[in-house]
């Protein structure tokens, strides 16, 4: 038949076709990889899962690198707070203003107070004699005495015995003699003070030299320039003496000052500028809390007015003309003046902003950065635990499945018993122990990984065993035995690659549940502890009702991240299972 002539209407050019109909090259098929890939991508969720997971990995592992902040970087902020601005008290303590070049020690001052209280006018300290002039209650001028000689009254005639180098004028001698006679202890002559002291029959003559002022009065300059002048010994002495002597002015350093006394305070004006107070004198001490701050007279006046009226607050314009509010609190005779001022604080619970996209947490750390580092911990814990589970599961399940029989029976019963043990109570107890023992946070993570891993390996072992048992029954495994292939090769070349797909699926799905377990433990405060963060421990903040209610951004993003990651693993695992499932078309 084949010898028949070829008819015209049939193609003759190509009697033998290139490809036979039954040639397997004619119809292209899916390659093994593509087959799995096709099945995988048919499941859109698996793709979504892959994308989610990729983003999570980038977020956690690369995000931490590009984040401008460090994991444990604490942020501060400047904020207005009511801070102590100044304090005021009625001064009852003596202050001592010492003349330049003189010495007046604390012990001398104590002797002074003793003498004053004993109504004596002189006192000694360290071989030096002192005297003071008691003015009003609150102003004392303290002198040191220098002996110049002695005088012996022989009858009415004074007999001077002067120290070497000392001289007395005739007037002075007369005055001294007069004083001895009248038993005056001290007198002044031409601005020079003399003090007589009885020493037996002798009267020792001393001249005084003012060295210090002891006063409870407070001298406040009205402006910053006046401070050195006002705090000067000369000025204080001048002003004090003038007040004592009820004079209306005094001179100090070539400048004349006028003193105006009112009910509760005394104001000093510089001559020539009478409308501008130069200093105030009072027994009220107002001091700024910060040494940099100079309290103006206006402030003091405003305060005094307010204090006098029993007000709790007052307002005053500052140098820029803006009103500033001050509050007054009083304890005993001390007033504290507070005002809102800028200060630096830990930036807690900051709401989302440009610099902290998700705000800051209760430690003032950037939540977004914490989330990145927390993601690392969560993912790494997940992977390590899965690794532990796989190692134990594959070995135990493999032994059980491959050897079968009594070995299998024993292992499966052991797994049954192991599975019966409740996981959470054990972990809670363990957590309590770790808390009591104060285990280091890093060690905690390791212990946690081992515990979670021990919890999960049984399911892997079961799967591996089941798979190997069923593979073992397949003819191709029988064929490896029939062809005399070594046991190791049987296991690793023929058996293991066939278990792999299922293992990959199981590992992917396990990762999700492990992350949830870790997060749950961390949320309950048993897992990852500060300073390390995991997503679960970040949500732990929400256990605080206040935080949960008011600062959603502290816990919600972490929860969403856990949710998305686990969802991603589940999506991918599900897709892989479908892809690897030989039953699927």
């Amino acid at each position: 038949m084949s010898e028949q002539p070829i008819l015209n209407n049939t193609p003759v050019e190509n009697p033998e076709p290139e490809i036979r109909l039954d040639d397997e090259k004619r119809v292209r098929v899916l390659s093994p990889g593509l087959l799995i890939w096709r099945r995988f991508v048919r499941n859109k969720l698996a793709i979504a899962g892959l994308i989610i997971l990729a983003s999570m990995f980038i977020f956690s592992f690369i995000g931490g690198l590009i984040s401008p902040y460090k994991q444990q970087q604490v942020f501060r902020k400047t904020d207005t707070a009511m801070r102590e601005y100044a304090s005021a008290m009625i001064n009852e303590d003596l202050r001592y203003i010492v003349k330049d070049g003189e010495k007046f020690s604390n012990i001398a001052a104590a002797n002074f107070v003793l003498a004053k209280n004993n109504k004596r006018t002189t006192f000694d300290y360290a071989g030096t004699h002192y005297s003071f002039k008691a003015g009003a209650e609150d102003f004392y001028e303290i002198y040191s005495l220098t002996e110049i000689g002695s005088v012996l009254m022989l009858g009415k005639k004074p007999n001077f015995d002067l120290n070497e180098g000392e001289t007395l004028t005739a007037e002075e001698e007369t005055a001294i003699a007069e004083a001895v006679k009248t038993k005056t202890a001290a007198f002044e002559l031409d601005g020079k003070q003399f003090v007589l002291r009885r020493d037996g029959k002798n009267n020792i003559i001393s001249v005084t030299k003012p060295i210090a002022i002891g006063t409870t009065l407070i001298f406040d300059a009205s402006d910053r320039e006046g401070v050195p002048i006002v705090n000067n010994y000369e000025f204080i002495r001048g002003a004090g003496l003038a007040i004592l002597e009820n004079e209306s002015d005094f001179t100090c350093g070539g400048q004349t000052y006028a003193i105006v006394e009112t009910d509760d305070k005394t104001t000093v004006y510089r001559s020539g500028s009478e409308d501008e107070p130069f200093a105030t004198i009072s027994n009220l001490m107002i001091r700024a809390t910060s040494p940099d701050v100079f309290l103006s007279t206006d402030f003091k006046n405003a305060f005094l007015d307010a204090a006098a009226n029993g007000q709790r607050a007052f307002s005053l314009e500052n140098a820029d003309g803006e009103p500033v509010e001050y509050t007054i609190t009083r304890t005993h005779n001390t007033y504290t003046i507070r005002t809102a001022s800028l200060t630096e604080l830990i930036n807690m619970y900051a709401p989302p902003s440009r610099s902290h996209i998700l705000g800051t947490d209760s430690n003032g750390m950037d939540i977004l950065t914490r989330l990145m580092y927390g993601g690392r911990v969560s993912l790494v814990v997940g992977f390590v635990v899965v690794f532990i589970e796989l190692i134990i599961g594959v070995i135990v399940g493999g032994i059980s499945g491959y050897f079968g029989g009594i070995v299998d029976m024993l292992i499966m019963r052991f797994i049954d018993i192991f599975n019966a043990i409740p996981f959470y109570p054990i972990v809670f107890i363990l957590g309590a122990i770790m808390d009591t023992m104060q285990i280091a946070p890093m060690q905690r993570i390791f212990i946690l990984m081992i515990v979670i891993g021990l919890n999960g390996w049984t399911s892997i072992a079961r799967i591996v065993r089941g798979q190997i048992l069923s593979l073992r029954e397949q003819d191709f495994m029988l064929a490896t035995r029939a062809t005399g292939i070594r046991t190791m090769r049987q296991i690793f070349v023929h058996l293991v690659p066939n278990v792999m797909p299922l293992l990959i699926v199981q590992a992917t799905l396990s990762l999700g549940s492990i992350i949830i377990i870790e997060a749950t433990l961390s949320y309950l405060g048993i897992g990852i502890k500060y300073p390390y963060a995991s997503w679960g421990s970040i949500i732990n903040a929400a256990t605080n009702l206040h935080v949960m209610t008011n600062y959603w951004y502290m816990w919600f993003p972490a929860g969403i991240l856990i949710f998305l990651t686990v969802l991603g693993f589940n999506f991918v695992g599900d897709g892989l299972r479908d892809a690897f499932d030989p039953k699927m078309k």
Partner: protein
Amino acid sequence: MSKYLLRRFLFAAIILIFGSLIIYTVIRCLPTSFIETTARQRSSMPGAKSYAEILEELNKLYARDTSILDGFFKWFKNAMQGNWGTSWVFTKPVVEKFREVIWYSIFLNIVTLFVQTFVSIPLGITAARNQYGKTDYFVTVFSLACISLPTFFLATVLKFIFAIKLDWFDLYGAVGRFHMQLDAWGKFLDLAHHMVLPVVTLSMLSIGGMMRFTRTNMLEVLNADYIRTARAKGLPEDIVIRKHAFRNTLIPLVTYMAYLIPNMFAGSLITETLFQIPGIGFVAYTAVTQGDIPFAMFYSFLTIALTQVSLLIADFMYAAVDPRVRIN
């Protein structure tokens, strides 16, 4: 059958004994310093026994002076006679505390089981019926989302939305403040009202798994030859699904549900804690985190027992729905 049952019971008993032996061993291995610290803390609580008493009771009940095996059997004997010791935290016998609180958990879990069953099985079946369709995608996403939700996060979000923002429910507790003043019906309503969020939480978490399980099994069943036979008989599609496919899906499903029971109690531990429902879970959590050894021991034993009981139930249910098993 009775032989099989006997075997099953024996096996459950063995697991129970070995499981509790492990629990006992763990407790015995607790560092002494931990026990003493905790005991000391506990004894300083109001109403608690003295430190010496606590330690003495512990030594007696757990036979801490003997070897682990001896101690275990002593403990086991005590436990079987109902002597579980006194809880350190609650300062009353463990069993008494258990009786007080278990009803909350049972109520919570049974309601959840109902909700879950009636939501997930129909949804799972619907998904399987149009595989790769829109419904299937929705159901798959929903169920996987449920599986992926951490309990505490779901609970927190629910509380945030429904208790704080909308103020529909109380944040915590099983009953309201004025519970005692209500009549019986009011008390029940009050309890039910407080159970809404926990039930929703627990249901959401378990719906996912069950829905997946139903769907997978349904898909398998739908590919079976007898489904084709049923169609070839001219049965309308919904009878094919409702009768022929569903009965077969039920076989693995009842087993799954039986396994679910102990898991639900473990799961409700977290949920009860989050909502502070004073059920066994919350109480156990409180006790165990504070190192209450008698209660921890009791709770662990209870969980193992529950697991074994549920396995037995699973076997029964399996036999009930699968005629092939019934005969053997």
